[in-house]
């Protein structure tokens, strides 16, 4: 004779762990980009295709996790943070995975060759952008500690420090973007114009990736500010 106790109905599923898992998944997507780039730079687009499929698979998983989290966040839930802020954060986390898929997609679709003179710089730029995503993931790893301490001032300070690192990293990615563009401009006449156009597009998307990572950070900041 087990009645449905009001105590049982009282507890909703905590979004904290699922949010963190989603971020890890999205970041895993982003991290695969460097493997993709290394293979693509050699021109072996058959191997690159396999990695792109891997990224697409991870992106699909992140998407499903996102939907599941949304499903379990009805507006009758009472949480220490506004539900809308949490959902915003989730949307931006998910965009990280989408950007990674886009970048791999454009490069593969064009079977893009990266001009030799800009290859090292391009790789550094991509790494820097991926690092921005890493910093966002680091900050988000503190989400459970934030909830555990009931958003204590100390924990907020700690996370704010991580978010500053994130901003710095995004800034570095920005500067690298300018340098890559400049380097490409110096050699662009030697390559087919359409390929170069798409290369500019990829550079833009990589910058966008760092941008999205920073936006994940600013959404987290909004969550903290109260």
């Amino acid at each position: 004779m087990a009645a449905d106790s009001p105590l049982m109905a009282l507890f909703g599923r905590s979004p904290v762990k699922p949010m963190q898992e989603h971020m890890q998944k999205a970041h895993a997507c982003v991290v695969r980009l460097i493997d993709f780039y290394d293979v693509a730079a050699t021109g072996d687009y058959q191997a690159a295709e396999a990695i792109r499929q891997d990224i697409a698979k991870l992106e699909g998983e992140a998407d499903r996790m996102k939907k599941d989290i949304r499903m379990h966040l009805p507006n009758s839930l009472f949480m220490p943070v506004p539900r809308s802020d949490l959902l915003e954060l989730l949307t931006h986390q998910d965009k990280l995975a989408n950007r990674a898929k886009d970048i791999a997609g454009v490069m593969l679709g064009r079977e893009m060759t990266i001009p030799n003179p800009i290859q090292p710089l391009m790789r550094e730029y991509l790494e820097s952008s991926i690092n921005t995503s890493q910093k966002a993931a680091d900050a988000l790893a503190e989400l459970d500690e934030l909830f555990e301490t009931g958003f204590s001032s100390r924990e907020i300070k700690l996370v704010s420090g991580l978010l500053n690192d994130l901003d710095d990293q995004e800034h570095r990615a920005d500067e690298l973007e300018i340098r890559v563009r400049r380097a490409l401009r110096a050699v662009e006449k030697d390559y087919p114009p359409i390929d170069v156009m798409f290369l500019y597009r990829v550079i833009e998307l990589i910058g966008d990736l760092a941008d999205v990572a920073q936006r994940v950070g600013s959404r987290l900041q909004i969550l903290l500010a109260r």
Binding site: A2, L7, P80, E148, S152
Partner: protein, 421 residues
């Protein structure tokens, strides 16, 4: 009068049976709510929770259950005006027990959230108002009981809010949460023990025949609580920082300290629950025994035999042993979002509220009080997701339970009246 002389023993036997069944139901079902928070937060295994519940529910029922039992027995109905027809009181109390037992079985099977307390109070008020006369109900007392149903969750919530804020300030929001947890948790242990012993010594023990002055009560309570605290410190010594777990989640070791504290608050919770809820089962029984033993003279002042409380405590233990395991496991699995640092705050607040109510003789719902306490922790930004719809469910259960208990009691009352004349 002749009815009582003729069937007196049968009435007592039947009432014992019904009362024991009610106590069994409380043990099988309600206790799981009181202890589920401890199981859910993994501070206790189901087995440990059952053992703690058996010991402390029984102790609470026997040592501090007298006041509430008194209220159910003679507080709701004006016994003096019923002196002319004592058999009506017997019929009424029997119907209340039967009505409450049947309603709880139905509601449990349908999965409706109901409260034992609300059912029994509704049943007694129902038979008295309809079967005997509206003027025989002590409406002042009934009003204060109903008020306490609103006040108790609010009070527990407020207490829980401040307890959790103090945890936040003293432990969680500091440079060394683990060290501070070890420093301050014994204080919470002392508080838990003091609150329980104080109410027991000042309010409960006179039913078992021990009378202490207020000063003596304070002294003994402080001594007992100090001993409990020393035991707690000894247990805390064994908690070490778990670096492996902390790497994954930095507060894992801190929560382990709170898990020890939660063993103590779980004991308090079981004690508080026993002190309040056993009355639902044995209060009507005590009333019947009283009438029969005094050959139909309703004596409002007469003492209650201690074995009645023992019977209630025993029923709870049997209920725990038969069904408690399963129900507690179910509830524990559902409540996993409550970590020990929150669970203890909710339990301490709820146990304090319930024990205070027991001391004042107010029958309240332990489950609702606990829900209020958990919401209080939530208000202090302590819990990641709470479903506020439950508050509506609780209101609904009041509205449904009271008339249902009353309606069934009225039917049984006229049935008994018809059978025995």
């Amino acid at each position: 009068m002749t009815v009582i002389a003729e069937y007196g023993q049968w009435f007592v036997l039947l009432a014992c049976l019904f009362g024991f069944f009610m106590a069994w139901g409380v043990g099988a079902n309600d206790v799981a709510n009181a202890m589920g928070t401890s199981v859910g937060s993994r501070a206790l295994t189901v087995k440990q929770a059952i053992i703690i519940a058996m010991v402390f529910e029984f102790a609470g029922a026997y040592l501090a259950g007298g006041e509430v039992t008194g209220t159910i027995r003679k507080g709701i109905i004006d016994a003096n005006v019923m002196a002319g027809s004592p058999e009506l009181l017997i019929y009424g109390m029997m119907s209340s027990l039967l009505a409450a037992a049947i309603w709880l079985v139905i509601a449990s099977m349908m999965g409706w959230p109901v409260s034992t307390t609300h059912t029994i109070v509704g049943a007694i008020v129902g038979f008295a108002a309809v079967g005997i006369g509206v003027e025989y109900v002590q409406w002042g007392k009934v009003t204060s009981i109903v008020m306490s149903w609103v006040v108790s969750p609010v009070l527990a919530g407020t207490l829980a809010f401040f307890i959790f804020r103090s945890v936040h300030k003293l432990i969680l929001n500091t440079d060394d949460p683990f060290g501070n947890a070890k420093r301050f948790v014994p204080g919470y242990m002392f508080l838990t023990a003091f609150m329980i012993t104080m109410v027991t010594f000042t309010k409960g023990l006179k039913h078992v025949g021990v009378g202490l002055s207020f000063g003596e009560s304070v002294l003994i309570s402080v001594a007992v609580s100090f001993a409990v605290m020393l035991l707690g410190i000894a247990l805390l010594k064994r908690v070490k920082i778990d670096e492996e777990a902390d790497r994954h989640f930095r507060f894992a070791s801190v929560e382990k300290v709170f898990a020890i504290l939660m063993i103590f608050t779980a004991c308090a919770m079981a004690f508080a629950h026993g002190s309040n809820d056993v009355a639902n089962a044995v209060g009507p029984l005590a009333a019947i025994i009283n009438v029969v033993a005094n050959q139909g003279n309703i004596l409002a002042e007469s003492a209650m035999p201690a074995w009645v409380l023992l019977l209630g405590g025993g029923g709870i233990v049997v209920g725990l042993a038969t069904f408690g395991y399963k129900v507690m496991g179910t509830i524990g699995r559902k409540i996993t979002e409550l970590t020990p640092s929150r669970g203890f705050a909710a339990e301490l607040a709820a146990a304090t509220t319930v024990v205070l109510a027991s001391g004042t003789g107010l029958p309240i719902s332990t489950t609702h009080t606990l829900v209020g306490a958990v919401l209080g922790v939530g208000m202090a930004r302590g819990i990641s997701a709470l479903n506020l719809r439950v508050v509506g469910t609780i209101f609904a259960s009041w509205i449904v339970t009271l008339p249902a208990g009353a309606f069934l009691a009225i039917i049984f009352f006229f049935m008994f009246k018809g059978i025995f004349g």
